[in-house]
């Protein structure tokens, strides 16, 4: 018979306001095996923990039940306290009477009754608990960063700084991401390229960093400390080791009518291309959809002019496999497609552009060499209308329910830069709310209004009609003036909502990490573990976790690096002892468990058994590798003969809990 102590937490008023904790402690004190039952205001506090520790020693406890918050919150706290008092950590059970009881009930009698039932279930389980010992598994001293934007670059640099090898996998031909496309950055208006490109170069020259550009992650196996990742290096038809980045091929390539992604399709590039002058790696890539040689077999100009002999029309995709201890996701964002919002005439008029397109139009390395000209007729716009929240804060089927967070600030920046450079241009900004929390942010926006005379209008554009005289009729509400306005604009700039990159969803499946309904990666705890995913060893960096500006992205990138380093410095990590094991005598060798195991932890072995009649027989039985098993329990459910069981969550323990609840 176990000697069990029960400890009921008030959690201030979180539990005590709806659950009569004294009655709970009293009722559970009468359960078989319970030798002490107490309540306390904050069980997780030091004095609360001491209460548990002292009781273990004084009453010689063999098991502990804590009725408190979710085990995700404080299970570890009480396991450590038990261990400090000499009790095996896995003899502690948590009854969740906060999230699953006090927070969701209003009636005290009902909530108290339920808390008692949950406590009884935990007591019933502890009776069947057995001490468990956690094993250890080694940590591969290498990190993988998926995504080579500013988030991925910063994370990789910080991990490398700590002396660990780190690989960046970037799907595009160059690292740099969205920041490379941006002209100036708020709130200081410094040039994005000037602060980004040195970091790109630093990443490429760092001895600890390997950049796999034009590459994708295609498979992830393993678990924290021990991931095996397959990376596809897509054929770029140029030998990276030979190409010097001289750019002669891009000049001579006769196919020059390819929409230039880097400039948002506002101008053209050649079929063999280097995305931009400061690209890293500075290596050419052939676009097989446009290359004449690849399509018709006739051309070969790039191959002829390349003195390095780097062109290889026959190059194939290459797969490499690598072991990593930690993985950081930094897959970033994109502006949404605006097809569903054609009341703004984005598809009808080249002078209606997105904000990211405007960045390129204003950039010195952009299609107009930094002079702001209308895409349609290359004239100076004299009246520009900015529309905020296009597709953000929506509760319709077209947009995103969240605030995209960065638009208010970049629009203030655009408005200010335009007024600074072209004082004869009138700028209107239609806003719902101006949201500028951040250091020096609201001051920045106010400068746009007060110093630069940008017309901020509380209201929304409802219809945009391009006219034959080249003007664009912008019909909008001015809610403060209680008027409907018609502005004859030269350009309209749409602050399109941002969304996670489309590669994030399949990646989340590979990594077995969680996403929210908007495909942003979910952090392990929204406040206290913001850069870790709920899957051990997977960390989150930048806008893949939620909309972020550059300063926030960089801060989070470094935080993710710190968490990854914290893992990589360990030689081994403690494994979860709550793993599956197979009762070989009951196993019928059917392979059901092997098929459902998501971690590949189960293999089948042939084993000799002594039969009752003293003969021996060889039988095929399941064997669990405890270092690989993550304790998900899928096999225990799949096993038809009941041979598979999970330490700490055995079939008999769970049935005992159910019995206690149903009694």
């Amino acid at each position: 018979m176990q000697r069990i102590g029960v400890f009921v937490c008030h959690c201030g008023t979180n539990i005590a306001a709806t659950v009569d904790v004294k009655t709970v402690a009293e009722a559970l004190g009468h359960e078989p095996g319970v030798v002490i039952s107490q309540d306390y205001q904050y069980m997780c506090s030091e004095s609360g923990q001491n209460l548990v520790k002292n009781a273990i020693k004084e009453h010689n406890l063999t098991g502990v039940v804590v009725c408190s918050c979710s085990p995700r919150m404080h299970e570890n706290t009480f396991r450590k306290a038990a261990a400090a008092a000499g009790l095996n950590s896995y003899m502690v059970e948590i009854a969740n009477i906060r999230e699953q009881c006090s927070w969701i009930h209003k009636d005290i009698a009902t909530a108290t009754e339920k808390a008692i039932i949950l406590g009884k279930a935990a007591v019933a389980k502890v009776h069947l608990n057995a001490p468990l010992t956690a094993g250890e598994s080694p940590v591969a001293k290498r990190a993988l960063v998926i995504g080579g934007g500013i988030a991925g670059i910063q994370t990789a640099l910080d991990i490398a700084e700590a002396g660990f090898d780190v690989d960046i996998v970037e799907k595009n031909p160059t690292i740099g991401g969205k920041m490379a496309q941006i002209d100036k950055t708020f709130p200081t208006l410094d040039c994005a390229a000037c602060i980004l490109t040195p970091k790109m170069v630093e990443a490429s020259q760092n001895e600890h960093i390997t950049i796999h550009s034009f590459s994708e992650v295609t498979d992830v196996k393993g678990f924290v400390g021990n991931f095996t990742v397959t990376i596809k290096k897509k054929a770029r038809f140029v030998d990276e080791t030979k190409c010097t980045g001289c750019g002669l091929c891009t000049e001579k390539c006769p196919m020059k009518k390819v929409p230039n992604e880097f400039n948002m399709g506002l101008d053209n590039r050649s079929a063999i291309y280097i995305p931009f002058a400061q690209a890293v790696p500075k290596v050419a890539t052939i676009d097989p959809n446009y290359c004449m040689m690849m399509k018709t077999g006739k051309c070969g100009v790039c191959s002829k002019v390349c003195s390095a002999g780097a062109i290889d029309y026959k190059q194939q995709d290459k797969f490499i496999e690598q072991k990593y201890g930690a993985i950081v996701v930094a897959t970033g964002f994109n502006p949404i497609n605006l097809d569903k919002y054609d009341e703004f005439a984005y598809n009808q008029c080249p002078d209606v552009v997105t904000s990211l397109e405007l960045e390129r139009l204003m950039n010195a390395a952009g299609p107009n060499g930094g002079t702001l000209l209308r895409p349609s007729d290359k004239t100076h716009p004299h009246k520009i209308v900015f529309v905020q929240c296009v597709g953000s804060r929506c509760d319709d089927s077209k947009g995103k329910p969240y605030c995209s967070k960065i638009c208010c600030m970049y629009t203030a920046k655009h408005a200010m830069l335009i007024r600074e450079k072209y004082p004869d241009t009138e700028v209107y900004v239609f806003y719902i709310d101006v949201r500028t929390p951040g250091k020096n942010f609201d001051e920045f926006y106010r400068r746009a209004v007060e110093q630069y005379n940008v017309h901020y209008i509380k209201g929304m554009v409802g219809k945009v009609t391009p006219r034959s005289d080249g003007k664009i009729d912008v019909q909008a509400s001015d809610l403060l003036a209680n008027e409907q306005l018609h502005i004859d604009a030269d350009m309209v700039v749409l602050a399109a909502a941002i969304e996670p990159d489309k590669t994030a969803r399949p990646l989340a499946t590979m990594l077995t990490t969680q996403m929210d309904t908007n495909d942003f990666f979910t952090e392990a705890h929204p406040k206290l573990r913001p850069v870790e995913s709920a899957t051990a060893g997977i960390f989150l960096s930048g806008a893949c976790q939620g909309p972020k500006d550059i300063p926030e992205t960089v801060a989070q990138a470094s935080a993710a690096a710190a968490k990854a380093i914290g893992l990589l410095v360990k030689n081994s990590i403690t494994c979860n002892p709550c793993v599956a094991h197979s009762n070989e005598l009951m196993c019928n060798g059917c392979s059901s468990c092997e098929k459902v195991c998501p971690y590949g932890a189960i293999t089948y072995i042939d084993k000799e058994f002594r039969m009752p009649d003293r003969t021996t027989a060889v039988r095929r039985v399941a064997n669990v590798n405890p270092a690989v098993c993550q304790g998900c329990g899928a096999c225990t459910v799949a096993c038809p003969s009941g041979a598979m069981d999970l330490n700490g969550f055995s079939n008999s323990q769970i049935m005992a809990e159910v019995d206690a609840i149903c009694k």
Partner: protein, 127 residues
Amino acid sequence: MNKNLQEQVLRSSGVNVLKCMRCGKCSGTCPSYDEMEYHPHQFVYMVERGDIETLMNSKSIYKCLTCFACVDRCPRNVEPAKVVEAVRLAAVRQQGNNHMNPNQIPEMLDEDLPQQAIVTAFRKYIK
């Protein structure tokens, strides 16, 4: 504030006015804005405040073209035109409060005017 009228309008329109985030897109897109004394966003807000009679007594309720531009373009799915429709119905359902009289029709006709215009106006103006 008229609670009864407010409840009637909310029930009849099926609109949850609390979803409105006051962006003003409905009034930005409304083709009848200049003809209206109260504009689509004001309809939503005044119904939220229970100020229904003011709207019922305004000619604005006969200026909505029911083109549903505000309904389709509202980012919060508030559907302002349905609020206007419910207020208008609340008005014409009152005794003697028809907005049009069949005797007025002949002088409005011309030889090309489609019947569709007359039946629609009857649906809109008369109970």
